[in-house]
Symmetry: C2
Subunit: 247 residues, 2 copies
DNA sequence: CGCCGGTTTGATTAAAGTCAAACGATGTGG
DNA sequence: CCACATCGTTTGACTTTAATCAAACCGGCG
C-alpha cells in the first residue's frame, strides 16, 4: 500500500516518463486548475522543492480524522472522498475531490476528517509546517487558497440546505446536477459516477436502498437512463434541475 | 425600518454617547473578537472611514439572497440568523452570528443567503467595493478573514455531519453544546436561547414540534431544566455532550 | 379580560430506514 | 471454458422516526 515516487510534482505515468528534473511542475495536467496557477516560476520551484508526488490505489485511506496533520495534499488526478464518522460507525461524506482540489485548507494541528481514494489517485504531498512557511512568502498563493476556501464554504452551505430541507428525490437530482456542473462544463448529459451507491448515500444523508430506489424511480419516469451502475444519461436535465431546486 | 446613524464604528447606545470622533473604533466592544483585531491604528482609521454603524430592531431582514451585494457587515452586538429558502418556502438556517462575526466572506457580486436579526442588533456596514479595495492594503486583515473562513468551514462540516447523520435528540444535544461553547467559555451551564423554536428547527433540519418534544423529553429525563422558553439549564452537560457525539 | 403569537401536546400519516432476499457483474479455480 | 463464490446493487416487506394535522396551552399586551 501507499507506494510512492520521489520525483517531485509530476503526477501521471506519462508525465513521469518525460519528467523534466529542472522544472518538474511544468508537465502537471492539473496545474491550471489548482492553487499552483497562482505561482510564478520561482514560487513553483519553491513549492516543488517540498513536494512529493504520490500515487494511491483505489480505496486507499490516506488521511485519518484526529491524527496529527503531518501533510497537506493537492489532488492531481482521480477522485477522493472526505468523510467524518460518528462513534457507532455512521458516516457522513463531506465532499468529493478531484484534480486541482486541496486537502487541508481548514486544518490546524490535526486532521478534521478522513480521506480515502475512490479511484486510483495521484496527489502532491507537502509537509504541513514547510507549506505554511512557504505561504508566508507567496501572498498570491494564500489569496488563491482563500478563494478556494470561500468556494468550499458556498458548497458547504448548499450541502447544508440539501441535508436539512430536501427530499430524497431532490437530493439525488441535486447530486446529479452537481456532478454535471463539475464535469467538462460542456452540456454533456452523460455522467460518470466513480463512487459507489454507499458513497452517494453517505454524501446525501440517505441509505443505499433509498439511493438505489430513487435512481430506479428516475429511470421509470424517463428522467435518466442507466448504463451499468456508474454511467447516467440525463434524459431531461431541465426537469432534474427543477427538481433539485424544489420546484 | 432600518434606522441608522452616520457616526462611524461606534456600536452601542452607550458607546455612541461617548463617541470619540478622532478614534471612533476605540470604544468598540467587539473589536477584540472581530476582524478589526488584526488592524493597527492606521488600518482601523482607514476602515472606520468606510464604515457606518447601523442599529437594527429585532426581526429585521437586512440581506436578501440573490440581491446585489452592496454592503458587507460586521456584527457588533445581538444575534443574526443567515438562511436560505427553497422555492416553496422551506427554510434552512445556515448559521447564527453574534458579536465579532463577519457577513459576506464568501460573497461575490450577489448575496448567497438572506440575513435577519433575531434580537436587536448593531452592525458595522461597509460598501463591498471599498472594503475589497481596502483589503489589498491590509494583508493582516485578509489573513484574519481567511482564518475566520476556515473556522466557518469547520463549523459547516460539523453541521453537515449533524444534518446528514444525527437523530433529532443528537441534533438538539449538539445544538445545546454549541451554544454552551459559544458562550462565556466559563463552565456556566445556564444557556440563553435568543432564537425561537422555529429558528432552532430550521437550523437543525427539524420541525417546530420535534424540537419542542425533544426539549420536553430532555426535561423529563432530567438532562435539562427549562426556565420559560429561552433559558435552558444543563443539568447533565456530560450526558448531553455524549449524546451529541452519538455515544 | 380576552386576544394573539408562539409553544406544547396529542393523534395520525408518510417518508425513509431496516431487515432480508434476489439479482448481476466480476473474478477464480476446477 | 464454465461452475461458482463474492461483492455491490436492486427489489420487496415491514418498521420506525419524524412530519403533518389539529387542538390545547401559556404569557404578554392592548
Amino acid at each position: 500500500m501507499t507506494p510512492f515516487v520521489q520525483t517531485q510534482c509530476t503526477h501521471t505515468a506519462a508525465a513521469l516518463a518525460t519528467a523534466d528534473v529542472e522544472d518538474p511542475c511544468s508537465h502537471c495536467e492539473s496545474r491550471a486548475v489548482s492553487m499552483c496557477a497562482s505561482l510564478d516560476e520561482a514560487g513553483l520551484a519553491a513549492l516543488s522543492h517540498i513536494t512529493t508526488a504520490v500515487p494511491y490505489a483505489a480505496k486507499t485511506d490516506f488521511v485519518s480524522e484526529g491524527e496529527p496533520a503531518t501533510y497537506l495534499f493537492n489532488v492531481t488526478s482521480g477522485t477522493v472522498k472526505l468523510y467524518r464518522l460518528l462513534a457507532d460507525g455512521r458516516r457522513q461524506i463531506v465532499g468529493f475531490l478531484s484534480a486541482g482540489d486541496f486537502i487541508g485548507i481548514a486544518v490546524d494541528d490535526c486532521y478534521l476528517y478522513s480521506a480515502e481514494t475512490v479511484t486510483p489517485v495521484t496527489v502532491c504531498r507537502f509537509p504541513r509546517v514547510r507549506f505554511k512557511a512557504l505561504l508566508e512568502n507567496y501572498p498570491a498563493l494564500e489569496k488563491r487558497l482563500f478563494l478556494m476556501a470561500r468556494h468550499e464554504l458556498v458548497a458547504a452551505q448548499d450541502q447544508i440546505l440539501l441535508l436539512g430541507r430536501k427530499t430524497a428525490k431532490e437530493r439525488i437530482a441535486s447530486f446529479l446536477m452537481t456532478v454535471k456542473r463539475h464535469g467538462t462544463g460542456t452540456g454533456d448529459p452523460v455522467l460518470v459516477l466513480p463512487m459507489s451507491r454507499s458513497d452517494i448515500a453517505d454524501y446525501l444523508g440517505l441509505t443505499i436502498e433509498t439511493v438505489s430506489r430513487t435512481f430506479t424511480q428516475f429511470r421509470q419516469e424517463g428522467l435518466i437512463r442507466l448504463d451499468g451502475v456508474s454511467n447516467v444519461v440525463l434524459l431531461q436535465p431541465d426537469a432534474l434541475a427543477e427538481l433539485a431546486e424544489g420546484l
